[in-house]
């Protein structure tokens, strides 16, 4: 939906949840980690899209094929780590048995990392925002974010 339109009428407003529409905000590609440095089931935390500041995102090799996964096995995914319920950090809450992030320490929401960060059980009103990845040789780059990061009205420019 576009903001700032001054003459919107109901009949021409785009659907609010437009099914399968891509909702990815693209950024200049940013190097995250190399394939050989990324250990299976050991999340690596990094800052994205901004450099510096808090390590608000993580990348993890799930050893299970995942939606949006990169690498030879399609099992490497990255997400923003702030719970989309009320913003609590999920760092340290990766569950390697089930490939789930959570439970959130505040209210126990869990997110399925194999399915775009879909809520498994809990309260979050957005999937966990997924960092779009790209592999070039041995290097993994982030190129965008799909989904709104907690706290923002628009992902940072």
């Amino acid at each position: 939906m576009l903001l700032g339109a001054t003459t919107v009428v109901l009949s021409c407003v785009a659907p609010l949840n437009a099914g399968a529409r891509l909702k990815t905000k693209e950024y200049a590609k940013k190097y995250i980690i190399s394939l050989h440095d990324l250990k299976a089931n050991e999340p690596f935390y990094f800052s994205y899209p901004e450099s510096g500041g808090s390590k608000n995102s993580f990348i993890v090799k799930l050893q299970e094929k995942a939606a949006g996964g990169v690498g030879e096995d399609g099992d490497i995914v990255a997400f923003n780590q702030y719970c989309t319920h009320m913003g609590a950090p999920l760092e340290g809450k990766y569950n390697k048995v089930y490939k789930v992030m959570g439970a959130c320490p505040m209210h126990l929401s869990t997110f399925d990392l194999t399915r775009h960060g879909m809520i498994v059980s809990g309260h979050a009103t957005e999937p966990l925002p997924q960092v779009v990845l790209k592999v070039e040789g041995d290097d993994i780059y982030a190129v965008g974010i799909s989904g709104l990061m907690y706290g923002y009205r628009e992902n940072p420019v």
Binding site: L10, N17, A67, R115, V120, A124, Y152, R153
Partner: protein, 959 residues
Amino acid sequence: MNKQNKIKQYGSETVPLPPVDCDVFTTACDYCIVACGYKVYRWSVAKEGSRKRNGLETEFPVPMMSGKWISSNQHNIVMHKGEPHYIAVIADADTTVVNKGGDHSIRGGTIAQKCYNPLTPSKDRLLYPMVRINHEFQRVSWDDAIDIMAQISKYVIQKRGNQAWAMKMYSYQYWENTHALTKLALRKIQTPAWALHDQPTGHGPDTPGMSDAGIDNFSASYEDWGMAETLLIVGTDPYESKTIIFNEFIKPAIDNGMKAIFVVPRKTMGVAYAEQNGGMHLEITPGTDAILLYALARIIIENGWEDKAFVSKWINNKLERDKEVFQADGFDDFKSWILSNDDAKLDNAVKITGIAKEKILTTAQWIAKPKADGSRVKASFGFEKGLYWSNNYMGTAALTSLGLICGAGNRPGQVISRFGGHQRGMMPGGKYPTERLPEKFPGWKKQGIDLDRWVEQGNASFAWVVGNTWTHGMSASKHLEDKLRSFTSKHPAQPSKLDKEHIIQTLKQRVDEGGLVMVDQDIYPVSPIGSEFADIVLPAATWGEENFTRANGERRIRLYQKFYDAPGESLADWKIVAKFAKKMGFDGFDWKDSNDVFEDAAFYNKSRRTSYVALVEYAHSKGLSGHELLKSYGTNGIQAPVRWEDGVLKGTKRLHDDTLYTGVSHGLTKIDQKWLRKFKTKTGRANLLKVPWKLYSDYWEFMKPVEDELWLTNGRINELWQSGFDDQQRRPYLHNRWPDNFLEIHPNDAKKRGIESGDWVEVANTKIPVEINGYTKESKNDAADGIIALQANANITTPDELEETMGLNNYNDSIKSSFMQSDALEMDDEMIQSIAGSTKEQHHDDAIMGDLHSAIGQSWKTIEPMTFTSLVNEKRIELYSASFQAVAIVTPDIKEGVTFTYFNMPSAKGSPNSLAGRVLDPVSQRPRYKLSRATVKNLGASPYKDQIMQMSFKPRGIV
């Protein structure tokens, strides 16, 4: 890069922010009992707020836990005064009660999308009255629709009597609406053919064991759940279905050392969290809770751990009435009963419930064993449908008796209460007309009409369905669906042109030829009631489209404000009722707005648990309307009963609380209602109840899985809870998570059947017991002579098989001899109304019972004919088949031998509720729809198995 690397997400890239001058409304969530407080921000689409300056008075990005974020699923565009406006609906970060600080569930969190917007999946809202012509619905005017209904209604009442005019309505969708609907059906039409959405019978308590003990089932305050040292939770996980009670009250208490014990067959998040933090999971076999609860009571009494001071002060030491069946004659009588009751032995409980002996013993210690210094543990007892919709009377009696001997029931942090289901939205406008009932227990009270059975037999000619699925809800049966179809859409008399007189004549012809004219009133087309069976469909206005009121599970009343235009020509239910009532010539429906209904209802219900007449009187003294004053209380609202004392308006935190201070009252408020500070019995002391397992065991034994069958039980999940009626199919974010119904199955059970997560399975039961017949006498006087004679030619499907399976022909005698001691009792006490409100009731001998309804006083003679065994012997049970399809989720978190499914998912392929029996509790005539058995067969992979865009098969209890 393959296709799966294409990221697909729902949600928008930016969210609109309200400008500083936006309109702000307070409301509460439309869905579950907890009723979190919300704020609605509304502003013209021509404006917007900025990141730094906006109507939320905060700067974006907002900090964590601020409660000020608007996610992409929390806004919408609606029409206000015909102009498009943005809305953002977010939990109220400023509220100090319930969802403190803006906590919220996923359902309420996405409630902005509930609002009608024709460019969203809400586009199929009903917009205009319609009549079915040649099996297609065509728009008509309100006047014509109401006129047709009134003419048919008058015809039906005149020709067949008012009991041929039926209503099946929700019990919860706002006080103004339920008041109007019941005023029409019960006070004006005076039909006994009336039932609420969750049960076929129209009167009596849902948790009768509590009522008979003298405890209001919503006596507790939410804070009580966090004040106990041990919390025993039976038949529910409040994390899944009471989310914010868990988040804000139970979880913090667990974090501070409270031991939470869950009695459920599944390990969902709340259970897993409790287990990880010092609590316990009692993985129970469905339907056996009462055995466990009485076994716990027996262990406690064997050890002398009962709360002696409490028992001495608060337990009745004499019978409420003479010659009582279930009520203990004081604690000593209960003690001797339970110590001689073999069913309550620990070893038997281990065998029947499937719970380890050590866990049962530890539970008894945690809830009752005095501490080293002699002081007592503070224990509370909460429960829900897994208990009382499996074994209604006995389950609630056993839990209450256990709680009472542990000293709970009337003190802060020591409560016995329901957590709740839907919000408390019933505010009666009439009393159930028991004098008109055609069926009664022999020698005893009249029995409320079982509306399903009544309609199936062709006793109704007009049925008005308001806001429920009927054929797929609780007690659903294929039998009912088939019958309704044959009486309506498959009946030969069908209107063929859009001509009012033709429609009326054709529908009258249908009445004459044994058919049924049906009206369905709802917000969406409901299948098959509204999409196939109904002759007339009426569009209702709902949440946000009218000013409404109701209470949550701690009796907290809030105003749910109107903030946008109701779609099309839809009208609030109370307005539709008023139109119809006036057309029928009834007085008392000249309300100008919903506040008028609210104030009318207040006086009619002044002695009810949710009494708010003091609020209305106080408002009037300040020159305000009731709604206006309530609005000023915002999301905090006020807890009922509302009292005007010492010059101020006060809420009531908990009932039966003898620490409650009551001051000098003003106005009409009944300040000295005994049950504010004492239990709800004549003496003010509570009753212990001794209910024999054999009251229920015949049915339980019949429902037990045999051969390759598994237990099948049903319930809700956090993401869909009291919200399925609009959001499962219409909220892409939630639909993506749960696009189809599911069946949880244990890995060992799955392996035997070759089932993996993501496979479609067929879940079938070919021996579903359904109670049929009765109501065969034509005249009222004949009918009132006793239980209705049976049809001689009743078509029993497989009587031999039934009797063989039962093998329990003699158990009734054993009940009499072993447990009853009083088998020839009669009582002539008047029926205690299911519906409070009649001013007459205040002079009733049982006025202190308020809106409770007693099974106390029944003799075994009155109960025996209603047992499953008797019904089988009387050939009143037929066996039916039903099946549904679901996507398998293989998980160790469901007990082996048990399967679990969602109870009524709109997109489900087949109705899971139809697999449960329709055989009502002999005492309370309440359903037992949580209990079923089924075969489970693999049908092959579902599309969700290998694609990774929809549905997740991860366990629900990953802590």
